[in-house]
Symmetry: C2
């Protein structure tokens, strides 16, 4: 079989270990008591709702996958412009992503009542159940991700034929990269659909429940309450998981492809460069597991202490991986290992800076959110203006962090030789892998949030002792903070991953040209003139071509109108996509409002607590709304890169990706931070400031929070998917683009 | 003197003609009666307020100009990295722009009472006074713009020395381009300061007046009323005028520079290519004057008829200029004249499409705005969500229009030879000139709006017959529509102008390298290695270098991390700039609110109509607020391109410009359209829909309108300036950037 050195087996081993620990945490959670019959009943409603949503979503996803797999097959076997492995790789990427979402969400829905029940005993017991259930999600995502990568690596290594071992490595990595398309497509539906679902239910429940009927959050008399709790699971657990599954696999695969190209011609060194990101990820899994075991707290812990115990786990994992990276790359004996290790650390640091900046801008312990709070005193309009202004300003630090991250990871990996494009870009990929290496634990803290939130809902609806609700509220408040930083992390990692994907796009173009060359000279004539001239005259070999050559051949420079046109379209697509998802939430929420009003009118005694609301119907409405509403944005996200490629070629596509990435990243940060700030500005008022609950300022702050809901939980996170998916679509379509462009 | 062919004299002649007609319209407006003593008094208050603002602003601008001119002098005479003409050109650009703003605004403040008075006689009389006063602004802008261009052309042609006539032409045009920096800097202060002023006064007046005290708009009892009316003049007249003055001069100068480079080596043809944009602009002036005379209406005209009469003038001018272009370029005997004429028409068409799309999305006669209106039924949050979503979606058509505009103007001018970068980019410049060729009349319709608005305010405050107010309301409503399309036009022309400036940046870099070469080989060593190697070894001559060569030398391709970093910073800067201006409005409005509340408390009998409010103090507060608040965004807009150039070099700067342009353009369209839609959604409800005035839906719609105010009148329009100014700063700093970059 060739190129499998023993160290490679660490990768599947870590994957299996992650899954084993996930199983262990799942079993130990399941052994916990689910509480009173009422608690079980509520949990069952939510579980059923979540599963019915997932079933419905997977139906839509299945159709999309069949259509796309058929399309890829035609491209591969009919037109010969694509790798024959793509349809299969695409399907497994989608399957594993969906499986991770399924397991994570199912775990979460089993865990909420158990968390509430454990919170009857102690805060620590509650935290433990919730956090370890979140860890199931984290470990399943990284475990299945690395498992899929390992299997494909072994399969392709065994089956692929190539003129030389080094070319084989290039072919393996570029082929594997396309399985990310499956993960991307599934993530699109999970994130966008889940995001629309959760906010349609939330906004709908709040508008009629809190505002019109004046009943509290999570009140069982509100027919949309169960849908709202289901939403936390489908949006914040399954959606977030699919998003980060995609970033995780995408960054590792893109970096492997960049490594195969950068170390072309260096023999065994190439293999080491390819598996380096996988090994870093594998070791990251082990260290994440250690971090997870470190998370515990004592009874009566303050918010700060709770946050401290989560941060302890994350920070220990991060510091250990930073140290371990030097060891790994030294053991691998990779060229320039010390500086490349610094690129990994750059990625980790960028993640931390973005997280801290998110915390600063969205926590009501700091000035920006308090100012938004204060603006609520003047009314609805000023709280909105203030939140929008603050959100826009808050984009500066994350962008500067990413800019410094790109610069230093590039310069380190290229050994400060600016002209060494391939090594520099490999460094950017390595930084993305570094940032995501501790995903096992960071995702655990993310998934923990909605579990705690649901536990609170369960406690409320089951009428448990107020002390229990107080404890779950403490867990939930912690969850809000981790959710905000988790969002920042998701956006930052999406940006770096998208950059790595963008860089590896060139590799796919190379392969595409080779395929054309193999198909005969007639096809070559459709290439840009410089390229075809070079190939035909034999002065240019594709394999010897540098990245700079490719940029030159396809004129991927900023004076090429195709690049400029691409940038405009990319920027516009980010806004269009956000607008469509915003409006989708608006429309779906509207339907929910009408249904809740209808139930209040038609079902007697709901508000008096004597009638039972029809929860299932609200769940069904949100499910249907999400399915219908996600079609248009999803279709655009897939079609526009393809159409741009057909009309404007490689230069147009790269412009599109860069424009979409730049605008999409900044827009996503803006939306996430504005939404988080409005949320906490409201909480700050509810804590008794500026008039407290029920004051005019509070009403204005609720407006801000409601506007912020689709910002931070639908449109903002959906942009993470968009910027990665555009790159993935372009990568998979590289063969088509290179052989066919109109202008 | 050389290269002055007789046809050139058409340019200064048209400029003088524009100024003569402006004088004629001004005189005829001044002859009209200003009405009752009360009307004169109100007008005097507004005029004094506007002039005191302008005086204050010009003080700040003067300081900024002294600092910048000193800085440019150091660069030119101290470090030798800049053209020695720049400091002078910079100052005249600023002076003429400020003069145009001064004349336009002074005219507007003389015209409002006269419009109200004329409206006592008939609607047509009112329209005539208002529109012709607006035409003063339009004609002064184009007249002074072309005059400045003509004078500099003659001066430089007389004084500059160059090895060959063709190189001289390149030097003249690249030097002239830098006078745009003066216009840009002055526009920055006019647009940003004016934008903050007008919305601080408007939001402040509305929040206390309409919402708290329950008195109508423009009520003389509201102390902020005069400031509000002053705001219309400083923001919508002076700010808009400075914005378009910059676009007008910038597009003509950039196209001339691109023409000088594209037609290098073609003898007399080069001169023709350079003056072609000037001649098109000159003929556009004549045709605009014809259009202005066509605008008239009959008594009792409906909104549609009023709009029709304005559109008649604009459309006739546009059709005539389209036809005239073919004639001009044929007479000039320019190579490829027929296809280049098509590029002009492309520009005109893009302008029209953007205008129509703005009208569609912001008029309450069409669906999108009605949906925003309907969302107000559900409350404050939904009207905001709906407006934001709609605004984001509304970016698609303008972007597609610009994309098609870029594509076709490039392809036409390059005679469908994609690789002919310099001709293609010349075509994009020509399209920008085409779009702006009828500025004389389009700006007249823009400036007309605030005059009509102020006339309404004057009629209200002077207690004129309700019939008069009804007539001024009709004129004002028309003004709102023209203001919306005018905004779209301003954004679209800013985008095309910025593109032309971006393309001409390369020319400045060329000149910068030449200067370095002349200064000796030591300096050459600081250039990118490929460039310096080529120059030193004599294999590369700067003059023979194509645009593609430059892109290659500086690696201005999308895989260069400096370009990517630049794109991120550019995208972020657009958001940061908008966020700062949003917050500026919030803070300045807050101060206004406190002052108005204070006056209501301290000055007895204001609300009963027996006490006189202290209008001047409110004017002073808005003035001060605007001056203070514009410092940070203005400084960032100037400094960030310079810093990016110093750190990341030419590639970083070009990335910055493209990222800022892509994101800034889309963000500006989003903000303008969302703001316009909220404004008209409120008006639609006020017309009696969804509950009408005073209903909860109306309150929610007022929230939307208030949020939309800084969107459409401060942050959105300020982005027009940002995207052009960034290019201008980079152009002026080209010498520094090329000789000094860190990474």
């Amino acid at each position: 079989m060739g190129q499998i050195e023993p160290i490679f087996w660490l990768v599947p081993a870590a994957a299996v270990l992650a899954l084993l620990f996930a199983w262990y945490f799942f079993r130990s959670m399941m052994r916990a008591d689910e509480g009173t019959p009422r608690m079980r009943e509520i949990a069952l409603y939510v579980r059923r709702g979540a599963m019915s949503y997932l079933r419905q979503q997977y139906k839509v996803v299945l159709i999309a996958f069949i259509v796309l797999a058929a399309f890829f097959s035609v491209l591969a076997y009919g037109l010969g412009v694509q790798n024959g492995w793509v349809p299969f790789a695409f399907l497994t990427g989608g399957f594993f992503s969906a499986l991770a979402g399924f397991i994570g969400m199912r775990t979460a829905t089993f865990a909420s009542a158990r968390t509430a029940n454990a919170a009857q005993h102690s805060l620590n017991a509650g935290l433990k159940v919730a956090f370890r259930s979140g860890a199931v999600m984290g470990l399943v995502v990284v475990g299945l991700g690395l498992l899929d990568i390992s299997i494909w690596y072994l399969v392709l290594n065994g089956l692929m034929e190539a003129p030389s071992p080094e070319q084989k490595m290039v072919m393996i990595t570029t082929t594997m990269l396309t399985f990310g398309m499956g993960a991307s497509t599934q993530a699109l539906f999970a994130r966008v659909g889940g995001g629309i679902y959760t906010k349609a239910a939330d906004v709908g429940a709040d508008l009629v429940g809190k505002v019109e009927a004046g009943i509290p959050e999570d009140d069982p008399r509100n027919p949309a309450t169960i849908a709202d709790n289901v939403g936390d699971n489908v949006g914040d657990v399954a959606g977030m998981g699919a998003d980060l599954y995609e970033s995780y696999c995408g960054s590792i695969l893109a970096t492997a492809a960049l490594g195969a190209s950068a170390f072309m011609g260096s023999g065994a060194m190439q293999f080491r460069a390819v598996i380096a990101p996988m090994i870093i990820a594998a070791v990251g899994i082990l260290l994440s597991i250690i971090g997870i075991f470190l998370v515990r707290t004592k009874e009566g812990a303050s918010m700060k202490q709770l946050l401290g115990s989560l941060n302890l786990g994350i920070n220990v994992s991060a510091v250990l991986i930073a140290a371990a990276t030097f060891l790994i790359l030294w053991l691998l004996n990779l060229d320039n290992w010390a500086l490349i290790s610094c690129s990994v650390i750059v990625g980790l640091v960028v993640g931390i800076i973005i997280g801290k900046s998110t915390e600063y801008y969205t926590s009501h312990a700091s000035k920006p959110t308090r100012r938004v709070s204060e603006a609520a005193k003047m009314g609805h309009a000023t709280v909105i203006i203030s939140g929008l202004g603050m959100g826009m300003i808050s984009t500066a630090i994350p962008v500067i962090a990413v800019v410094l991250g790109i610069t230093f990871s590039y310069l380190f990996a290229s050994n400060f030789d600016f002209s060494n494009f391939s090594m520099g870009l490999y460094g950017i990929g390595i930084a993305a892998v570094g940032m995501l290496s501790t995903l096992g634990i960071t995702l655990a803290t993310d998934a923990y949030g909605p579990i705690a939130d649901n536990a609170g809902g369960n406690a409320e609806m089951s009428g448990l002792d107020p002390e229990v609700r107080r404890r779950t509220d403490a867990l939930d408040a912690l969850g809000n903070t981790t959710a905000a930083t988790g969002k920042g992390f998701a956006i930052g990692s999406a940006a770096l991953t998208a950059l790595a994907l963008l860089a590896s796009y060139i590799e796919e173009i190379k392969i595409g040209i080779e395929r054309l060359v193999a198909n005969g000279a007639e096809v070559i004539a459709t290439l840009p003139k410089d390229v075809s001239d070079g190939i035909v005259s034999g002065t240019q070999s594709i394999h010897d071509a540098t990245i700079a050559d490719f940029m030159d051949w396809f004129s991927v420079n900023l004076m090429n109108y195709k690049v400029l046109v691409g940038v405009f379209i990319g920027s516009m697509l980010a806004f269009l996509f956000s607008g469509l998802t915003m409006n989708a939430v608006g429309r779906a929420a509207q339907r929910m409002v009408e249904e809740v009003r209808r139930q209040f009118r038609m079902i007697k005694g709901i508000l008096e607590g004597t009638g039972t609301p029809d929860y299932a119907r609200c769940v069904a409405i949100s499910t249907k709304g999400a399915q219908v509403e996600m079609i248009l944005p999803a279709t655009l996200a897939i079609l526009i890169p393809i159409i741009t490629g057909i009309i404007f070629g490689v230069a147009g596509v790269m412009g599109l990706l860069v424009g979409g990435l730049g605008t999409g990243f900044v827009l996503a940060v803006f939306m996430a931070n504005a939404g988080g700030a409005w949320d906490n500005a409201k909480k700050y008022i509810e804590e008794g400031n500026f008039g407290g609950k029920g004051s005019d300022a509070h009403k204005a702050a609720v407006t801000g929070d409601t506007v912020g809901d689709p910002f931070k939980d639908t449109s903002g996170p959906s942009l993470n998917i968009l910027i990665k998916l555009m790159s993935m679509v372009s990568i998979v379509m590289a063969g088509l683009t290179v052989s066919f462009s109109l202008l």
